[in-house]
């Protein structure tokens, strides 16, 4: 089972999680920075659902993960932005899923397409942080070591 840590890496880094970056590290070392605890996540196992003729449901599309940083200092934003300088980029991530095992949250490693927010970013004069930065990871394909 993958460690319960958020990881991220550019696609060029390769699919070995040992080479990926700890998100907590990307957010550390910043004076007055927000901590990892302010990172909220969502995991959607499917893009949508189809009701089949036999009454069962088929989940359509690949999983989607969302990371929402409630507040990022500019340096922290820069560290995250490094993985997605364009509107989207191919990355690897480790993210929690909805599943637990013996009460313990299950994290999984995926290749994904990372999409930066399409909406405008919220920031405030005099207070150098960006509010509610939402990163969407689509097309999650599990990376099996």
């Amino acid at each position: 089972m993958a460690d319960q840590t958020f990881l991220i890496a550019a696609a060029a880094t390769g699919n070995d999680p040992d080479d990926w970056s700890l998100v907590s590290t990307l957010l550390s070392g910043v004076s007055g920075g927000v901590s990892i605890r302010t990172l909220e996540w969502q995991f959607e196992p499917f893009v949508s659902y189809a009701k089949l003729a036999n009454g069962q449901t088929r989940g359509l599309g690949l999983p989607v993960a969302r990371w929402t940083f409630k507040g990022l200092r500019p340096e922290q934003r820069e560290n995250i932005r490094d993985f997605c300088s364009a509107p989207s980029a191919s990355v690897y991530i480790r993210t929690p899923t909805n599943e637990t095992a013996a009460g313990v949250r299950t994290y999984k490693d995926y290749s994904a397409i990372m999409s930066w927010m399409e909406r405008s970013e919220l920031s405030y004069d005099g207070i150098e942080y960006i509010e509610m930065t939402e990163i969407v990871f689509t097309n999650l394909v599990e990376v099996v070591a």
């Binding site: 893009v47 189809a50 089949l52 003729a53 088929r58 359509l60 690949l62 097309n139 394909v141 599990e142």
Partner: protein, 907 residues
């Protein structure tokens, strides 16, 4: 090698994938960007811009050998430009001259010529000069180049390198074929740009080659036929394609009625006219596809599993926006483009011997005609797979007015054998007989791609039940052609009494090998017009196994308890009529419109009525009964009163001898007799017609003429009698002619009968087959020519050519011949009649034209002698030809379409 058959049944593993969660797909777009292979400047001042077919050039750069027939030539006012025009290289150039498909364009001296590595779908024009027809501007019939139909592979493969190497293995070309009597001898691949190759020629194993660099690569397959002609076709492999940014603006969809696939894409950049040329070949493919969240492929042809749709761009919508300009292209498959290719009127006729001009095909069948049309009127076989019907129905004539090539193909195939042009999503063309028209054996051979269960489709299944027929009756007219004679045959479905509701319909001029086939087709047409259920839509998951071509089935079942109406469909075969890949966010659904397969019941033989002709000397067949429809089925009551026969008073011997001629219509109680009938009664037809048969010596002798279609029937196996009180009291002498049987009575005295009977012998007769050889014998050759045959096999010999003259004193021309010294077959010019004296060694004989006859025989030795029929050969002049054919035993069939009793007196 993998067979080039893009169809297979879903495996259990496929079904697991198709029913899995987390299905997804990411798409790529491969746009062929033709590279320059040769450049030059025009070195010619053109006096006219009309119909230019060659261009003199100089200042060339590149390798001339790289310029191939079918490539595209840009003609422009600047280097690489195409503002003057875009034309086709039509044959191998010389060091000073490029040969192009005829074009009326303005070309100036020193214009720039750029040959690019592109093979488009073009029309090829035929021209007539001095009465001589030339294909593609200058190809004479005698010098025609190869015309094998090569089934090499789909148009485009998109592959990726693994560890720096991409390996491509083409499917087997074994489905390639020739349609002009030749066969394929060998083949050879070429793959310019390949890093390595193996087994590139036939007989050496599975061909394959590798690429070590990304790029767009052409590969070619050259086929050599048994006449040493070489035909080449070209395909593409795109390695590690760099897909542009695009969005799918129109879901890929293939529609049976259009016969083609199409899709649309919107692009935002990298879409200049230099980046994407007009009519560029575009392929939509899956970069990645997932089932159960795991990357996998699920395709119908190895090497092409990832191809979603292939076609050529036509039409573009450019949006100029201050911030976000876009262009939207629509990509269409081959059928769409064939409909844009002009095609001149043409006519093709079947010929029993080797053709001597473009309009002739030896023993023409639908496929031979299609091969001729596609090969010489287009470049389709040069760039794509073209599969044909497999139908071997003999056809006498196919003629089409000018129009588009697609309309001609669909008319030529559709109006004869109910076939049409359909292209699959891989860009392979199928001219195929509709599954609803296929025989039960053909239907049984169709692949059932998937049994669709409730675990496969979304939501509800809406089925419209059709309770009222739209067609009450089909009266189908087909032509049957045995290599010499065309006869109309008719069938009605469901029978002479139509269904309770619906219109009559009378399709005509289709082709059928015999009455049974005509009956079957009529039944199929009625079933098609009156389906029990309308087409219905099924939404499946990511499924590219199902397609509109080649012909295929899926299967579905509905239990009685599933619907309040209690509808039951058990293993119902359903035919995909349209397939759409409905794009969603990150995945797609396959939406298929299915048509339930029908369960046709054969129609019955129908014989168009003839007007009642009195006192006429002859009786012609061939008129359709449509104008009388449906009067023949209400010819009731039949003969409740005695027919009125005139002259009524020829009772004395003198009266009878001098009685005037007359003719009366006979009505038979059966209109079809089959040699397979179990009893004589089954094979006997009776016409009630009380009258007196005139005695021998009358000015007008009594005869019965029976018009119709007779298969395998000769004068020896059909009999006509006069009957009285149920007994056959007088026998006629039968002569089987071109259009019917003439039965002549010659009693010693006038004979009163109640009517007439026709008795067909049990068993089989003969039918001619393919031509084996032909030749000529001089009329003065008493020994004749020996024709090699195989003892024990059945053959037919037709008379042909000629005429000859029997001695200098005779001016009459003769066409008759004998076999092994006996018999007299053909027209005897001296007597002025057609004679059919079956030779001793032969089983049967028949008339095939007004001049020529045919004999059937089972060879008892290694050769037979063919010679003119005469007893004194020395002074003969001229010659007579023969055609040796295969022959087969065939069920005796007598279809009676009309009949007259001629020259009778009142009883």
């Amino acid at each position: 090698m993998t067979a080039n058959t893009p169809i297979r049944a879903a495996t259990s593993g496929d079904l697991v994938n198709l029913r899995s969660n987390n299905q997804a797909a990411l798409f790529g777009l491969a746009i062929n960007k033709p590279a320059s292979v040769y450049t030059a400047r025009v070195n010619q001042i053109f006096a006219t811009s009309d119909s230019i077919i060659e261009i003199e050039y100089d200042g060339a750069s590149g390798t001339l050998a790289n310029v191939l027939a079918g490539m595209t030539l840009y003609i422009g006012s600047a280097a690489g430009a195409r503002d003057r025009g875009v034309v086709r290289i039509r044959k191998t150039p010389t060091v000073t001259k490029l040969y192009i498909g005829a074009a009326s364009i303005q070309i100036s001296d020193n214009d720039y010529l750029t040959v690019v590595n592109e093979f488009a779908l073009w029309g090829r024009d035929a021209v007539t000069q001095g009465g001589i027809v030339k294909m593609d501007s200058d190809i004479l019939f005698a010098s025609r180049t190869g015309a094998a139909i090569i089934r090499a592979a789909p148009m485009v493969a998109v592959i990726k390198r693994v560890a720096g190497v991409a390996t491509f293995t083409p499917p087997s070309p074994a489905l390639s074929a020739c349609y002009d009597g030749t066969t394929i001898s060998s083949w050879a691949y070429s793959a310019p740009g390949a890093a390595s190759t193996s087994n590139m020629t036939s007989g050496t194993g599975t061909a394959s080659w590798t690429y070590s660099a990304a790029g767009q690569y052409r590969w070619s397959l050259s086929v050599t036929d048994s006449a040493s002609r070489v035909t080449t076709t070209h395909r593409w492999v795109i390695v590690d394609n760099t897909s542009p940014n695009f969005a799918i603006s129109q879901d890929p969809e293939g529609n049976f009625s259009d016969g083609s696939w199409s899709f649309g894409v919107t692009m935002y950049d990298n879409a200049t006219t230099a980046d994407i040329v007009d009519r560029a070949l575009v392929t939509l493919y899956t970069e990645h596809e997932y089932f159960a969240g795991v990357e996998a492929t699920l395709g119908k042809l190895a090497g092409y599993e990832n191809i979603v749709c292939t076609g050529f761009i036509d039409g573009e919508s450019v949006v100029r926006d201050s911030q976000n300009s876009t262009v939207t292209f629509t990509i269409y498959g081959a059928s769409y483009w064939l409909d844009k290719i002009r095609a001149a009127a043409f006519g093709l006729e079947s010929k029993a011997t080797t053709p001597t001009k473009w309009t002739q095909i030896e023993d023409m069948t639908p496929d031979k005609a299609l091969a001729q049309i596609l090969s010489w009127a287009s470049t389709a076989p040069l760039i794509m797979d073209c599969f044909f019907t497999g139908d071997t129905t003999p056809i006498n004539i196919i003629a089409q007015p000018s129009g588009s090539l697609l309309s001609q193909l669909n008319s030529a195939a559709g109006n004869t054998i109910f076939a049409n042009v359909v292209t699959n999503n891989l860009g392979q063309m199928y001219i195929q007989t509709d599954p609803q028209i296929m025989t039960s054996a053909q239907r049984a051979a169709l692949v059932t791609v998937q049994t669709i269960t409730t675990a496969d489709y979304e939501g509800q299944l809406e089925i419209t039940r059709l309770t009222s027929p739209s067609n009450s009756m089909i009266e189908l007219e087909c032509n049957t052609y045995d290599g010499n004679k065309v006869r109309p045959i008719y069938s009605r479905a469901p029978g002479n009494t139509g269904l309770a509701y619906g219109e009559y319909d009378a399709p005509s001029n289709y082709a059928a090998v015999d009455q049974a086939e005509c009956n079957r087709l009529a039944g199929c047409l009625l079933a098609i017009r009156n389906p029990l259920y309308d087409t219905f839509e099924v939404v499946l998951s990511q499924n590219r196994l199902v397609d509109i071509a080649p012909a295929q089935y899926c299967e579905i079942s509905i239990a009685a308890g599933d619907t309040p109406r209690g509808i039951t469909l058990t293993n119902q075969k359903i035919i995909p009529r349209s397939v759409k890949y409905q794009m969603e966010g990150g995945y797609y659904k396959t939406v298929v419109e299915f048509e339930p397969a029908s369960s046709p019941v054969d129609g019955i033989a129908y014989f168009p009525p003839k007007p009642v002709n009195t006192n006429v000397g002859s009786f012609e067949i061939g008129e359709s009964g449509f104008g009388d429809f449906p009067s023949p089925i209400i010819d009731f009551p039949i003969a409740l009163t005695d027919p009125v026969v005139t002259p009524a008073n020829c009772k004395t011997s003198t009266d009878i001898v001098n009685a005037p001629g007359n003719s009366f219509t006979l009505t038979w109680d059966k209109q079809q007799l089959l040699g397979t009938g179990a009893t004589a009664a089954d094979r006997t037809a009776t016409a009630w017609f009380p009258c007196s048969i005139r005695k021998t010596g009358c000015v007008y002798g009594t005869s019965v003429y029976i018009a119709g279609y007779f298969q395998g029937v000769s004068s020896s196996n059909i009999h006509v009698y006069g009957v009285k009180d149920g007994a056959q009291i007088i026998t006629a002498t039968c002569a089987v002619g071109l259009y019917g049987i003439s039965a002549t009575f010659a009693p010693a005295s006038a004979t009163v009968v109640d009517g007439f009977q026709i008795l067909l012998d049990a068993g089989t007769g003969f039918a001619p087959g393919a031509v084996l050889s032909s030749g000529t014998v001089q009329a003065n050759n008493a020994s004749g020519v020996a024709i090699a045959v195989t003892s024990g096999l059945t053959y037919a010999i037709d008379g042909s050519g000629g005429p000859w003259k029997p001695g200098v004193a005779f001016t009459q021309t003769m066409y008759n011949f004998s076999i092994n010294g006996t018999g007299n077959i053909g027209r005897d010019g001296i007597v002025g009649v057609f004679v059919l004296v079956t030779p001793n060694d032969c089983e049967a004989s028949e008339q095939i034209t007004t001049l020529y006859g045919r004999v059937y025989f089972i060879a008892a030795a290694a050769s037979v002698i063919f010679r003119v029929q005469d007893s004194d050969f020395a002074d003969n002049s001229g010659s007579l030809g023969y055609i040796l054919r295969e022959a087969t035993g065939t069920a005796l069939i007598a279809n009676i379409s009309g009949s007259n009793a001629n020259n009778v007196c009142a009883a």
